[in-house]
Amino acid sequence: MTIKGKAYIAGIYEHPTRHAPDKSTAQLHAEVAKGAIEDAGLTKADIDGYFCAGDAPGGLWPMVDYLGLRVRHMDSTETGGCSYLIHLGHAAEAIAAGKCSIALITLAGKPRTGVMPPRAQGAEADFETAYGATTHNAYGMCAMRHMHDYGTTSEQLAWIKVAASHHAQYNPHAMLKDVVTVEDVLNSPLISDPLHRMDCCVVSDGGGALIVTTPEIAKSLKKPLVRLIGHGEAMKGPRGGKDLDLTYSAGVWSGPRAFEEAGVTPKDIKYASIYDSFTITVLMQLEDLGFCKKGEGGKFVSDGNLISGVGKLPFNTDGGGLCSNHPVNRGGITKIIEAVRQLRGEAHPKVQVPNCDLAIAHGTGGLLGVRHAASTCILERA
């Protein structure tokens, strides 16, 4: 049993807003759902599967009711920012099994406008909460150890932000459109050592949605065909504190599973959407996915290697979380959306990868230095 080629992404929509004080969170979910359904050329009545995560107000049942859906398959897998990459894989499984035929996945929220609810805690709470793990310092801990073990430098991390900024200048919706230099990043204030302010993604309101469907239905619609050919998911945590190693992510497990299912290798990939909550997130994931050897990520990302038209691996051509947006502090769905744009040939002409027929969308969710999930999707132009 494989999901290879059994599900197509027929509709995508990214909310243009980056600041939405005049809208409700549920409303943003509805707006992105409407956008994706219209992009696919479908109607709401066609939707028979729905996927959402922790950002959906109240979870599945209030959302299904609010949106006025009538579904026969539902999934609210919650793994932070990579939830939607996992949803895409699960939607493909459900479609392959005949449990639904047209699935809707939504993400939306307003962290820029309001305060985000606290992260749900588990059995570790008494042993960790007091120490103040946040996204900044949890990723900072990874970067610090990566530098110690492999000699990775702040200059190398800065190249990731530089590449993202080169792409963001062409995105009219990007929050940060100015091209920056390595020096700009190094001169920005330290937030949590060794990460500078410009190593961190933006905080934005907004959202995005996907329509996932069967090959037959996708072929009956008008959009260029994009299909999922490989998917992987995994989790990683301190696991009792044994052999702690914060220099790799759960991508070391989700990546190979996805590549194996797809029957391709990292060398075949023309475009990469890589979750960029922080620059270190990108560097570690590129290593874990096999784009370079462990410890060589710093060298790999340097000198513009991630810039479209310049380097060998164009990444996050919308400007990504580092420059464009990071709706609900979750970057998973925008990673899929830009990969689909590239495969459709709908990316901005200045960043469109020529003959882009194979792409990866990958992300992590949670706190990289504490416990997190990862999910990898390999997408192909059909």
Binding site: N137, M144, R145, L190, L246
Partner: protein, 129 residues
């Protein structure tokens, strides 16, 4: 001026109560599985490695070295350093580094446990030796 840091009192539960009782006496406990021999932290009733229920409490030396850390430059209660300590007994423990110059922390530095008060049981922290 940042507000003084006030640490939340552990909520406790039947599974972890002995840890907090020992903490009140200045003892830092870890759990060890008598089936596979592996120590672990934070403490569980069932071993996270071999899934045996034959786990026992063991007093740790409270000594170890810094595996990694990150210095949070700003927070409502001022700067703080979060990190992991790899204990002499093996397990790595999430913590904050206290009673020291945060700018001088280094990976590999020797540290030892110190307890800080809360409204309930005290919490373990680490400080350079």
């Amino acid at each position: 001026m940042a507000e003084a840091r006030k640490y939340p009192a552990p909520q406790g539960n039947p599974e972890t109560a002995p840890f907090w009782e020992a903490a009140r006496q200045g003892k830092f406990l870890i759990k060890r599985c008598t089936a596979c021999g592996e120590p672990h932290y934070f403490p569980r009733a069932i071993c996270p490695f071999c899934f045996s229920d034959q786990t026992v409490w063991e007093e740790s030396s409270g000594e170890g070295e810094i595996y990694t850390f990150s210095l949070m430059r700003k927070s409502p209660t001022g700067p703080y350093a979060i990190g992991y300590v790899t204990l002499k007994e093996g397990p790595s423990v999430q913590t904050n580094f206290v009673d020291c110059e945060l700018e001088k922390l280094r990976i590999g530095q020797k540290v030892k446990v110190v307890f800080k008060p809360t409204d309930g049981a005290p919490l373990p922290f680490f400080t350079p030796v």
